[in-house]
């Protein structure tokens, strides 16, 4: 499974919990899908699943706005 599918799966299963598909370019911040607590959960998942280290400096909107941007961020971190 590619990174995008895994990230989408995590968000759907653990954050939105509703099983609805999310478009890769959907703005997760504008839609309030990712609030502050959800981002903490997502970061824990990314670190555990992809072996990357997310620092506080990485907690920027441009890294978490869409699934595509999360995928690019994970890839840039070597995940």
């Amino acid at each position: 499974m590619d990174i995008g599918s895994e990230v989408e799966g995590f968000i759907v299963e653990k954050i939105t919990l509703d099983g609805e598909k999310i478009a890769r370019d959907e703005d997760l911040l504008a839609s309030d899908t990712l609030d502050s607590l959800a981002i903490v959960e997502l970061v824990s998942f990314l670190e555990a699943r992809f072996g990357i280290r997310v620092s506080d400096d990485d907690l920027m909107p441009e890294n978490f706005k869409t699934i595509d941007e999360i995928v690019a961020f994970v890839a840039a971190k070597g995940g």
């Binding site: 939105t16 919990l17 099983g19 620092s55």
Partner: protein
């Protein structure tokens, strides 16, 4: 009334900045001209005294311009959370009988769908050009004429806000020009001056943001610096820190969540320009107070208010460390009493329900006579908060009688969530409670559900997500054979937490 405050600022300091938003700076003179132009165009479209106009915008200068233009015409602003789902917006629009809705690129489309189903005509005005069918705010300002707006009757309703409560759907809270200007004066009691620069990071649709930034700015002539797109705050805290330092901000009204996240931020910042930091919404944990103070050398003071009353008190003590747990003494003409379950005043130091009498308080909820008789009595509002007063008249809060759940500065009414879950065809009964989150002072929404037939957690969640804002949706769903109750049928919530 409220507009007169802005005219007074224009008369004495027309070029002084009223709003800062990113690189945009708007002086009091420019702000008032845009308000007058928009009001002119809105009046041409038939909006006038008594008309309710919903504002479903993210915080930006348009929000401020729309707010003042509507009320200057005698209209009633209905501020709504732009993250509300369609069913929540429908409820707000129909309960307040809106004549028009102002939305942005995110909300205008859903607003158009909602008003299309209304029996009476309602117009959608958009902040962006993305919606071809809607006139844009910029076009209305462009074609409007800047004409001085006349004063309003102080007893006209200025704003309809929605308050969480223990009766299911949010309650409509009308407040008049007189009451809102009285609240502005209470913010003036905090010593705000034209030299102050206020960080606006609390949503302007919220009573606290409206009071501290819209009213506080208008009464004092201070500059309000609006944080662009402040949500989620975890990703914007660096921007808040940058702006406080770069703009030399002096006043920061926040919630405990803001102060904790800023104290934990990786980047440092010089926040020595801040002279007043207020925390409201829920109790400020000592750990957050200490962490913010140690990190930035700034002491956070607690402030107390409600949708029904506006600001009530603020801790203005000379020693914020020794008094950090207090929310201060009532401001101006506000009076606070502590009463027992029968409404009888209690002696100094005793714990009871906080009641508030204030010139800024609403006269009562719209069309809720029975509830009004319960909570607006003898000229006071019964807050549902528990507290005690000391010998100096300083108030300390110690919890709530009402069953509200605190989520990141928002209050979630468990009954509203229960009502939604119980509307699911597979659910027989549901009880919603707040359970402790990972961080002190923060809660999660938990639903205990008795199914009528086989049902999965995700079905309940999906049902809620379609109908409720995300912050109200349960993070935990527990299926049970029955809800624990006392012999008298009272739900024993402590067994669900």
């Amino acid at each position: 009334m409220l507009m007169q405050l802005l005219y007074e600022q224009v008369a004495s300091r027309p070029d002084h900045p009223a709003l800062v938003y990113g690189d945009e700076r708007i002086s009091y003179g420019e702000l008032v001209e845009r308000i007058e132009r928009l009001a002119f165009s809105l009046a041409e479209r038939g909006i006038g005294a008594g008309d309710a106009v919903a504002v479903a915008l993210r915080d930006d200068p348009w929000y401020v311009i729309c707010f003042h233009a509507i009320v200057a015409l005698g209209g009633r602003v209905v501020p709504v959370n732009p993250a509300f789902k369609q069913t929540e917006l429908e409820f707000c629009f129909s309960a307040s009988d809106v004549r028009a809705v102002i939305g942005d690129e995110r909300t205008a489309g859903v607003c158009e769908r909602i008003v299309a189903g209304f029996e009476h005509p309602a117009e959608v005005i958009s902040a962006s050009a993305a919606h071809d069918q809607s006139p844009t705010l910029a076009a209305l300002v462009e074609r409007g004429s800047a004409q001085r707006l006349s004063d309003r009757d102080p007893d006209e309703i200025l704003v309809y806000q929605y308050s969480s409560g223990s009766t299911g759907r949010p309650k409509l809270v009308p407040r008049t020009h007189r009451q809102c200007v009285a609240e502005a004066a209470l913010y003036g009691e905090l010593g705000l001056t034209p030299e102050d620069r206020i960080l606006s990071a609390i949503p302007l649709f919220h009573t606290y943001g409206m009071g501290a930034c819209l009213f506080g700015g208008a009464v004092s002539g201070a500059t309000v610096v609006i944080l662009e797109d402040p949500h989620p705050f975890l990703l914007q805290r660096h921007r808040a820190l940058e702006q406080i330092e770069a703009e030399q901000l002096t006043v920061f009204p926040g919630v405990p969540f803001n102060f904790r996240l800023m104290a934990e931020a990786p980047a440092g910042a010089d926040l020595s320009s801040l002279r007043l930091c207020f925390s409201a919404g829920t109790a400020l944990p000592r750990a957050s107070f200490e962490a913010f103070g140690e990190r930035f050398g700034v002491l956070v003071r607690q402030l107390y208010g409600s949708t029904e009353t506006g600001i009530i008190s603020a801790n203005m003590s000379d020693d914020p460390v020794a008094t950090f747990e207090s929310v201060g003494a009532p401001l101006g003409e506000v009076r606070v009493a502590i009463v027992d379950d029968d409404g009888v005043p209690l002696p100094v130091g005793e714990l009871g329900e906080v009641t508030v009498s204030s010139p800024a308080a609403t006269n009562g909820y719209a069309e809720m006579d029975e509830l009004n008789r319960q909570v607006f009595r003898d000229g006071s509002y019964f807050t549902g908060d528990l507290g005690r007063l000391d010998e100096e008249g300083v108030l300390y809060l110690e919890g709530r009688k009402k069953l509200l759940i605190e989520i990141g500065g928002y209050k979630v009414d468990p009954i509203e969530v229960q009502d939604v879950i119980e509307a699911h065809p597979s659910v027989a009964e549901a009880i919603v409670v707040g359970i402790p989150g990972q961080v002190e002072g923060e809660e999660l929404v938990k639903a205990a559900v008795v199914p009528a037939e086989y049902c999965e957690e995700r079905e309940v969640i999906a049902f809620c997500r379609e109908r409720l804002s995300n912050f109200k949706v349960p993070q935990v769903v527990e299926f049970r054979d029955e809800i624990p109750k006392s012999p008298l049928g009272k739900v024993l919530r402590k067994y669900l937490v």
